[in-house]
C-alpha cells in the first residue's frame, strides 16, 4: 500500500514539477500546514540548539525520577526501542539521541490525566546517549542512557 502511494507520488511529482519549483522557491511550504510543529528544534544539529528551540532554555537538572528503558547494545540503529517513565508531574517528555544529525527525535506533550510514560522506537546514527528530558513545573529534568549502535540507521 505504501509503495503504491510512493509510485503515485513519484508520477505526480514529475507531472507537477511547476508546483515542485514553487515549493523549493519557498512559495509553498508544506510545513506551513503545521504551525505548532517546532521546526527549529527538530532541525537543530546540537542538543543545546534543540533544547533552546523547544523550551527556550538549555538548563537541565539531572533526576533519578526519570527512567529510560533502551537496549545497551542496539544491533540495528534503524529501530531502537525506547521507553521513558517518570514519577514527576510531567508536562512533556522529549527524547533526544545525542549524536544524530538532528538530535531531537520526539517531543510528547502530555494531557492533564496522562501518565509519565511513553514508549516508541527511534533511529540512531551511531553509539550515543539517549537523553530523556521531562518538563515539570516549568523546570527541565533529564537523564541519559548510553546505547551502543553496531549498524547505523540514518541513511547510507
Amino acid at each position: 500500500m505504501t509503495s503504491m502511494k510512493r509510485r503515485t507520488f513519484l508520477k505526480g511529482s514529475v507531472a507537477t514539477s511547476a508546483i515542485g519549483m514553487a515549493v523549493s522557491a519557498g512559495l509553498l511550504t508544506p510545513r506551513m500546514v503545521l504551525a505548532a510543529w517546532p521546526k527549529a528544534a527538530f532541525e537543530a544539529s546540537t542538543v543545546d540548539d534543540a533544547l533552546s528551540g523547544l523550551f527556550g532554555s538549555t538548563t537541565l537538572t539531572g533526576s533519578d525520577k526519570i527512567k529510560i528503558k533502551a537496549p545497551d547494545i542496539a544491533e540495528n540503529g534503524a529501530v531502537v526501542p525506547v521507553s521513558v517513565t517518570t514519577d514527576l508531574a510531567a508536562e512533556s517528555i522529549s527524547i533526544i539521541a545525542e549524536k544524530n544529525t538532528s538530535p531531537l527525535a520526539a517531543s510528547f506533550i502530555l494531557g492533564s490525566g496522562t501518565e509519565g510514560y511513553v514508549s516508541t522506537r527511534i533511529k540512531m546514527g551511531k553509539t550515543a546517549s539517549v537523553i530523556a528530558v521531562v518538563k515539570s513545573g516549568g523546570k527541565l529534568y533529564s537523564t541519559g542512557k548510553e546505547v551502543k549502535v553496531t549498524i547505523g540507521g540514518c541513511g547510507g
Binding site: 503545521l34 510543529w37 527538530f42 526501542p81 531531537l104 517531543s107 510528547f108 494531557g111 516508541t120 527511534i122
Partner: protein
C-alpha cells in the same frame, strides 16, 4: 487508507494505548540506490490522541522516529466502550486517523 493499528485497554482506572502506524519515515538523507539521488524527507510530524473531546497526547516527531512507528502511552480515566481517536499528519500534509473503543 488504514494506516493505523491501535489498541486501547482499560485496567485499574488507567487506559493503555498501543498504536502502530504504517509510514515510510524517510529522513531525507538516504539515497536511492538506483538513481543515486536523495530520497526526499517524508515523515510524520504530529500525532494527536484524543479521548472524547480531551486531548491526552500530542506527539511532535522528527525524522528520527523509526519506519512504521510504534507508540505506547497511558492515561488516567477511560472506561470500556469509550472512543479514543488517533490522528497523524506528515510533512507532506498527508494525514490519517483511526478510532477504536476502549476494551
Amino acid at each position: 487508507m488504514a494506516s493505523i493499528k491501535m489498541r486501547a485497554k482499560a485496567s485499574g482506572g488507567v487506559t493503555t494505548i498501543k498504536a502502530l502506524i504504517s509510514h515510510p519515515m524517510e529522513t531525507g538523507t538516504r539515497k536511492d540506490k538506483k538513481t543515486g539521488k536523495k530520497i526526499p524527507a517524508h515523515f510524520i510530524q504530529e500525532v494527536v490522541c484524543a479521548h472524547g473531546d480531551k486531548t491526552v497526547l500530542t506527539a511532535n516527531w522528527g525524522a528520527a522516529i523509526s519506519k512504521n512507528p510504534y507508540l505506547s502511552f497511558r492515561f488516567k480515566g477511560g472506561n470500556a466502550g469509550d472512543m479514543v481517536k488517533l490522528s497523524w499528519t506528515d510533512n507532506k500534509g498527508n494525514s490519517d486517523s483511526a478510532e477504536v473503543a476502549i476494551k
